[in-house]
């Protein structure tokens, strides 16, 4: 039994309105690879940000013990001084600088402010050899592939004499070979005595390399399993990840589904907007009937948002092939306006970036997508606008002192109601809801579910994208699963459970 290197005790971290971590405990032994797994939003990244000082000491409750010392990290530098290095999900390299410059950024080999380039390059060469990367240290980072960039990040961590390496979804953007390579490298470093915490969605790779696995759910530690000694099944872990009580989370629904297909996506292929070779979505086929709520389930990076936005007036992707049909007739969108005119609405997953104009009032946000209805020859009718926004405020139960209030002052749930209200006022036939309940509390979720149900009852067709499986199972009549840009399953309501969905969502088309 090796000794414990890291102990995080009773960590609690709250963001405004959300408890991201609730009494989380994590124990990592010296020299092991410790896997951290959980659904999106379970608190994995937050926990690691607490550990690395991104969320400084004082903004969370609890105690961190590292090599027996109590640690109070205020900045990333503090944790790096203890030789704890985190590699974030989004790579933190500067594309225009060389590999060597990136590796020693903030840690320059310099005397009196003058950089010793020879030393820098020689050291970089050593580091790159260690990670098995055979490229020129002076190559610009933007010219090497994503897999190689990931290795540069690791080399950078090594340059800081890392003892505890934290990797947040390191293989999310990598292909099979690069992932394999990276995992082998981790095993190699483990032999040399390095400890690692590995966050990933991909169960298979976690089972392959890790010694211990900790499951987080809803900001809480659910279980910790030693993998090598005590055989635990994938099924058990999936159950731990998703298992929660579903009763009463969803309002009563009176389905009113007609037989006619309102909207259909056929053979939809989408390529990356910048990299035309990279195909993001492959042959997507789906349809939704009048009054039906369909779900799209997929892990982060599966292409859910890309699918929604490419359908919504080509807001994502340049090269797109495939057809869209509405009520059996083919429709072609050149831009968002065409989509709106054809009765499609898209509620973005990121309401602050893509949904709301935060500095504008509730009223102005509610009417923005359908100003035509409150204007006469392009002149706005102030009283009409006031009436309508008041009515929407009532209908959606938006809690605000007045419709003149800036939306930035509203809570997340109420902001989301404003975005939904905007699209309800645009009177669409098809609503695409991308993560409609992200970051809002349970009570507000319930109200939003109610609104969605009412819309479906009135004959609207709803496409709901969500990372929360219980939400999809509780709300949808049919669920499509999406994995690596492909539809991997179509599951009816009565067959849908979290295990089945998760199995389809983690299914790799290659294997």
């Amino acid at each position: 039994m090796t000794k414990t290197i890291l102990e995080m005790d009773n960590i609690t971290k709250t963001f405004p309105g959300v408890k991201a971590l609730n009494d989380v405990n994590l124990k990592v032994r010296q020299g092991e690879i410790h896997a951290l797994i959980g659904e999106n939003g379970a608190g994995k990244s937050t926990l690691m940000k607490v550990l690395s000082g991104v969320h400084p000491f004082g903004t969370y409750d609890g105690k961190i013990l590292y090599e027996g010392d109590i640690c109070e990290f205020k900045t990333i530098n503090d944790s790096e001084n203890k030789r704890i290095v985190i590699i974030h999900q989004e790579l933190a390299l500067i594309p225009e600088l060389s590999i060597a410059e990136n590796i020693f950024l903030g840690n320059e080999r310099a005397k009196k402010g003058i950089i010793n380039w020879n030393e820098t390059i020689v050291e970089t060469r050593e580091l790159l050899k260690k990670v098995g990367l055979h490229v020129d240290p002076q190559e610009t980072v933007k010219n090497i592939g994503v897999g190689q960039q990931q290795l540069v990040e690791i080399a950078k961590a090594l340059s800081k004499q890392v003892k505890l390496l934290i990797l947040d979804e390191p293989t999310a953007a990598l292909n099979e070979d690069d992932s394999e390579n990276l995992l082998n490298l981790l095993l190699e470093f483990k032999k040399q005595g390095m400890t690692a915490i590995l966050i990933s969605h991909k169960l298979k790779e976690l089972f392959k390399v890790s010694d211990t696995i900790t499951v987080l759910r809803d900001g809480q530690t659910i279980a910790t399993y030693p993998l090598k000694e005590n055989k635990v099944s994938e099924a058990q872990i999936i159950k731990d990840m998703v298992g929660r009580d579903l009763t009463n989370l969803f309002p009563e629904r009176y389905p009113n589904i007609k037989e006619n297909v309102v909207f259909e996506v056929k053979d939809w292929n989408v390529y990356h907007p910048l990299d035309k070779e990279r195909q993001i979505l492959h042959n997507i086929n789906l349809n939704v009937k009048e009054g039906e709520i369909i779900g799209i389930a997929g892990l982060m990076g599966a292409g859910r948002t890309e699918l929604a936005m490419s359908v919504f007036g080509r807001s994502y992707g340049k090269k797109i092939t495939g057809q869209l049909f509405k009520n059996g007739k083919e429709i072609v969108f050149k831009n968002v306006n065409d989509a709106i005119k054809n009765g499609i609405a898209y509620v973005s997953e990121n309401r602050k970036e893509y949904g709301l104009i935060l500095i504008d009032s509730v009223k102005k946000n509610l009417t923005l997508a359908n100003l035509k209805k409150i204007s006469n020859r392009n002149v706005l009718n102030a009283s009409k606008e006031a009436n309508i926004s008041e009515a929407l405020k009532e209908q959606m139960n938006i809690k605000t002192p007045s419709v003149e209030q800036q939306t930035v002052n509203l809570s997340g749930g109420n902001q989301q109601k404003v975005v939904l209200g905007k699209w309800i006022f645009a009177e669409p036939d098809i609503l695409i809801l991308d993560e409609p309940t992200r970051g809002i509390d349970v009570g507000a979720k319930f109200e939003i579910y109610k609104i969605i149900n009412e819309l479906a009852e009135k004959g609207k067709s709803i496409i709901m994208i969500s990372s929360e499986l219980p939400e999809l199972i509780g709300m949808c009549d049919r669920i499509y699963t999406l994995s690596e840009g492909r539809i991997t399953g179509e599951i009816q309501k009565d067959e849908a459970n979290q295990e089945t969905l998760m199995t389809h969502m983690t299914q790799s088309w290659r294997s």
Binding site: S348, I357, L371, S402
Partner: protein, 385 residues
Amino acid sequence: MSGLKEIISNNIRRFGMIIALAGIVILFQILTNGILLTPLNVTNIIMQNSYIIILAIGMMLVIITGEIDLSVGSIAAFIGAVAGVLLVNWDLPVLLAIVLCLGIGALIGAWQGFWVAYVNIPAFIVTLAGMLVFRGLTLIVLQGQTIAPFPDGFRSMSSAFLPDPLNGADLHLTSLIVGGVFSLIYILAELKMRRTDVKYNFSTISFPLFVLKLFFVVVLINVFTYVLALYAGLPIVLLILLVLIIGYTFVMNKTVVGRHIYSVGGNENAAKLSGVKTKKMKFWVFVNMGALAALSGLIFAGRLNAATPQAGNLFELDAIAAAVIGGASFTGGVGTVFGAVIGALVMGVLNNGMSLMGIGIDWQQAIKGLVLLAAVAFDVLNKNK
């Protein structure tokens, strides 16, 4: 119904500007021993600042969409030069020349708007290039010379006054009547607005306060026209300004186009996904800026009675300063046409007051710079509170 305190705290931004303007006016009125508010000087302030106010209105729209235009001074100079060639060298009719010049201004705006909106080149770069291009073209058109004098018809736009068929001798009666009519329209508009506000239960100020506000504004309008009437009456350029201010305020507050312009600056992504044609909006805002820069150049040339290569020098900075003092935010989405006008007047009164005091151009520049910084610092600190 809300009290005075709440109104002030809710409107500190808007009130702040007006209070600052009033403070500066009072300060210079004292420092210049009362020369600042003499009828002659008030008339002068309006005429001297008309072209900056026009630019500030256009600049406000540009900044609301989150962009910037550095080329307006050069465009104004270029259009002045073109007007010189059309009117003096080619002897074209005045009206035709004006229409042509405004058209050319709009075309220049379309050229810049194209690069900004459709090619996605930062407006700072596009208009920096424009600043050089049109300054250069001005020199080419004028061949380094000054063209003068302009025909009288052209000059009247910037230097003439409203005629007074009533012959009020020392007092310009027509101007007083215009002031009265204007007050009446204002009162009616305010009453109508208040009625809708009450009807929809919007927050309104208490009735006595409302009457006080009406009284105050009406007195201000009439004292203003009275002072002007004591000299030569209402300048034509003031009427042009009024039309622009009212027109643009209407467009920005009451029309779909205005709402779309604010939304582009407020959050371009959200606007786009709500069906706002964001590129088109940006393009037309630049076209509008070009046309207003042209108008500004025409008025400046008319006032100077010459088209010179140096015309419009640093106008862009005055216009940007006016917009910023008037409450524009460089992150976009915020600002009012009225604010831009107040901002331009703050700069104008500062210029005029310091000149009257005999302060040299060197100190004037430095002081103006500090005022600009102070205005924005006040705003930022106020927001962070």
